[in-house]
């Protein structure tokens, strides 16, 4: 009974706040929006105390009653998303430019509402409705009428295409299983046959892949990230990725029972995800604006999540359920962690951009000297993003490698060779990503300012929200073990383990609690600091300049930092170098191959086709009558 009212509260609170925000339009509307998520933050504790909850709403659509279900997994996703959402609202409340670029604020509680219902809904009508609602409200938040309109429309078109594909897949599943409740679908794949269940899986991956930015759907990401309000970007990259991954897993695993023959599908998914991850990490290293780096970082992380999903399918195709649940769990955990560190870094970048007044690396640098607190907090985000210990990004990446190592569970199958290759992919994309994020931090915060600037201060509530997120980054990594033990029963049940075993580290290979690493590392840093002692004779002096004055531009720039890697991987990046007009130095640029080679030809051929069709549409009545006559005659002859 408690849970029923809690679920009702989860739906009604955002709704009420939404209605209120239609009337009230002051600055405090962001605080009110944050309120709308307050109940959802408590979802995970509530489920842990009172158990899973179900709420059936008696009146319904043609598809039957609406039904909401809150299990451990959806509660965890809801809690993390809501926490992120609240911090983003709080940050927005604090940031200065409130009045310059107002967000369509009433969309915020609506987004939270759609997020909750999408995570909880059990019937497909509510699910599809809230998924589309989520897409729409993020689109509106990103602003479709200002100078960035082009990129938002790209996002709109691609995600809605994805929505259509999802609709097809879900309706087919509903029709096939004869139920509109996702929870009734369990095991319906057996009756469906491998071929069609693989097709559905591919459709789902395509559909949600558009939102996650898998290759080749990433074309909307860099532009949208760079040109939209940062808070909307944070919402897109954290909250809607969370929802997308959760729905993908929920829908996918609700019917998909892996058999021996789904190995190929799993391998194909893993291969595409690997390509996508490495491509994204490489692109992240050569971008010239911080937000674009973050866009490709989202792409990379989501590709890794899909890689783990593929791995889990591979394992369950072989019947290695423990390994399969471990990799699925890792995928989910990484998604949750990603939402924390990604929103932290997006907000940090947004603050830095506010301070500097530039959206490119060219005008940045040297922020750490004047904004120590911001630089410390942002460093935590960067280190988590780069998967370095002791933060949460490291924990999930470490678990990824652990799951790959579980490949010994595959026995002597020839496709076990995929696993060391997977480890290599993780290593390569991880190192590329780490280099990219360190470069991001170095260019923004370290060194000398590249332009003379009036440094603005950062608002307290902005710093507070970033602080909350960075503490969450550390804590969620350190307390990974309790989190895993809460989530693992539902994950193992999803994979189809008969007893629903509880995964707990010690896994077969790594036997260390992340908390121990955090503690050990901090102890070591403390000891070293004590050993160094307080050196009184620290003098400030100028950087060694070889006898000439060092100007603000005489530092390594964004492009020069990535030049060695760009040169090594020039075949992948398609580097174009030359002297750009009006500049003294040769410069390289990295064209978006997918836009130029896939999307533009596609749209061009579509336009050509329409032009060809237009020729038929002469507009004169006589020609239309002529068509009718011709069709009639053909039909009469054919159906004689």
């Amino acid at each position: 009974m408690v849970m029923v009212s809690f679920l009702a509260c989860l739906v009604l609170l955002p709704l009420a706040v939404f209605l209120f925000s239609l009337i009230y339009r002051g600055r405090y509307v962001y605080i009110i929006a944050a309120l709308s998520a307050s109940a959802a933050v408590l979802a995970l504790p509530a489920v842990m105390i009172w158990g899973p909850g179900v709420l059936d709403i008696p009146f319904g659509s043609v598809f039957g009653a609406y039904s909401l279900r809150l299990g451990e997994l959806s509660a965890a996703f809801l809690s993390f998303s809501a926490l992120v959402f609240m911090s983003i609202c709080l940050h927005r409340f604090g940031s200065d430019t409130d009045m310059d670029r107002p967000l369509p604020v009433s969309q915020l509680p609506l987004l939270m509402l759609f997020c909750s219902t999408a995570l909880m809904s059990d019937d497909i009508f509510l699910l599809l409705l809230s998924w589309e609602g989520l897409s729409l409200s993020t689109f509106l938040l990103c602003g479709f009428q200002r100078e960035n309109g082009k990129h938002s429309w790209r996002y709109f078109a691609i995600t809605h295409m994805g929505g259509l594909v999802i609709l097809c897949a879900v309706l087919f599943l509903a029709q096939h299983s004869g139920s509109f409740l996702v929870s009734d679908w369990n095991g319906s794949a057996a009756a469906m046959g491998v071929f069609s269940s693989s097709i559905i899986m591919i459709l789902l991956l395509l559909g949600f892949g558009t939102k996650l930015g898998l290759i080749p759907f990433q074309v909307w990401m860099p532009g949208l990230y760079q040109n939209s309000p940062p808070h909307s970007v944070a919402l897109v990259s954290a909250v809607s990725s969370n929802v997308a991954v959760f729905l993908l897993v929920k829908l996918g695993y609700s019917y998909f029972v892996a058999s021996e023959s789904s190995v190929t599908l799993a391998l194909v998914i893993m291969g595409l995800a690997s390509v996508s991850a490495i491509y994204a990490a490489l692109q992240a290293l050569v971008q010239d604006a911080p937000m674009r780096v973050l866009a490709y970082s989202s792409m990379k992380n989501m590709s890794l999540v899909v890689l783990m999903l593929g791995l889990s399918m591979l394992f369950s195709a072989h019947g290695a359920t423990v390994a399969a649940s471990l990799s699925l769990l890792t995928a989910l955990l990484h998604t949750l962690y990603h939402s924390l560190f990604k929103s932290l870094s997006v907000l940090g970048v947004s603050d830095a951009q506010e301070i500097v007044g530039s959206e490119h690396f060219i005008g940045m640098g040297g922020l750490a000297r004047h904004h120590s607190l911001l630089s410390v907090l942002f460093l935590i985000g960067v280190l988590s993003m780069a998967a370095l210990p002791p933060f949460n990004g490291f924990v999930s990446e470490w678990l990824m490698i652990q799951s790959m190592m579980e490949g010994f569970a595959l026995g002597a199958e020839p496709y076990r060779m995929a696993l060391p290759l997977g480890v290599a992919v993780l290593g390569l994309s991880g190192a590329l990503g780490a280099a990219a994020y360190l470069r991001l931090y170095g260019l923004m915060f370290l060194g000398r300012p590249r332009r003379h600037l009036e440094f603005k201060s950062v608002n307290g509530s902005s710093l507070m929200s970033i602080g909350v997120l960075s503490v969450a980054c550390l804590a969620s990594g350190a307390f990974a073990v309790p989190l895993i033990s809460v989530l693992s029963p539902s994950v193992t049940a999803m994979v189809g383990h008969p007893t629903g075993i509880v995964l707990s580290p010690p896994f077969t290979l790594g036997e260390i609690d992340p908390l121990v690493i955090v503690v050990a590392l901090s102890i070591m840093v403390l000891i070293t600091a004590v050993c160094r002692g307080r050196n009184k004779n620290v003098n400030r002096s100028r950087t060694w300049d070889c006898g000439s004055d060092l100007g603000p531009d005489m530092q390594y720039s964004a492009m020069s930092f990535s030049q060695p890697v760009a040169k090594v991987f020039h075949t992948v990046l398609g580097t174009r170098s030359g002297i750009v007009e009006g500049r003294l130095f040769p410069a390289s640029n990295f064209p978006d191959h997918f836009w130029e080679r896939v999307y533009l030809p596609l749209s061009k051929s579509y336009l050509d086709l329409s032009r060809a069709v237009r020729r038929l549409q002469g507009g004169s009545v006589q020609s239309y009558l002529g068509y009718i006559l011709a069709v009639l005659m053909v039909l009469m002859v054919a159906l004689r």
Binding site: V423, A424, E511, M524, N535, P564
Partner: protein, 313 residues
Amino acid sequence: MDYSLFIISTLQFLALLVSAPAVVGLIRLLKARAQGRRGASLLQPYRDLRKLWRKDEQVSEDASWLFRVAPLISAASVILTTSMLPVLHVTVLGPGSDMILAIYILMLSRAMLVLSSLEGGSVFGGMGGSRDSMISVLIEPALLLSIFSLAALAGSTELSSTAQFISQGGYLIIGPTLILAAASFCITTLAENARLPFDNPATHLELTMVHEAMVLEYSGRSLALMEYSSWLKLTVFITILVNGFLPWGISSALDPLSLALASLAFIFKLILALGLIALLESQMAKMRLFRLPNLLTTSFTLALLALMAFYIL
């Protein structure tokens, strides 16, 4: 809690910490001898450290708090990794001996180095940082794969277990997998520790510097920490090489005889490895920066072949 185990693991941890400068000193000495010079004493690195420790520190006007914190974190993470290594006995002091974890903690040290290289705002630092990023991008897959093949062979990523497994597995375990993985790991050791032919540790020529360029702005105690952590990192890598890929002699019992044998064996293998490095460094020229991918891909291919050999044979 078994006290003798605790004492042994603490002792071997401290011994590694203390001997790290001597390891570098020995390489320098052997290298000098191989080139027909007398060379500085084995204790020279200790003297260098003492000298740096007493000196004043110069910090660039452009640098922020990170400049002084980075050496601390860098050194701390290498020290933590050192505590995870079995040297004479298979027990360790630190949190387990998982090699994947060790690699990630070492990456933290490297990340701090790259960040601090951008602090001074000079061109040298950025140059070092960007080159170092390139090298680390290319070795990371090879490093993970060679650990993976060791794990495939011995069934664990814990160095303690692999050392025990391999040293008790008899001579038959010396197969293609072990040899190839060791070869791959040798190359990554050289690359990770900025030795020839990847980087010349003895020069400050801007065309060739990688590691030296990154610490160029450091002085005083911070430089001492940076130097020490790079030496310790070399020691860590050689210990992993020696105790992971040819762990014969490592002790899993506690009696004095086997411990003495273990220390003899370890010192012998260590000197052998250092001699090889010295010989290599006096024979080889530094490679051009953009030839490095060739060697690093070789290392990757070797590690991959090690796994293939494990699967095929």
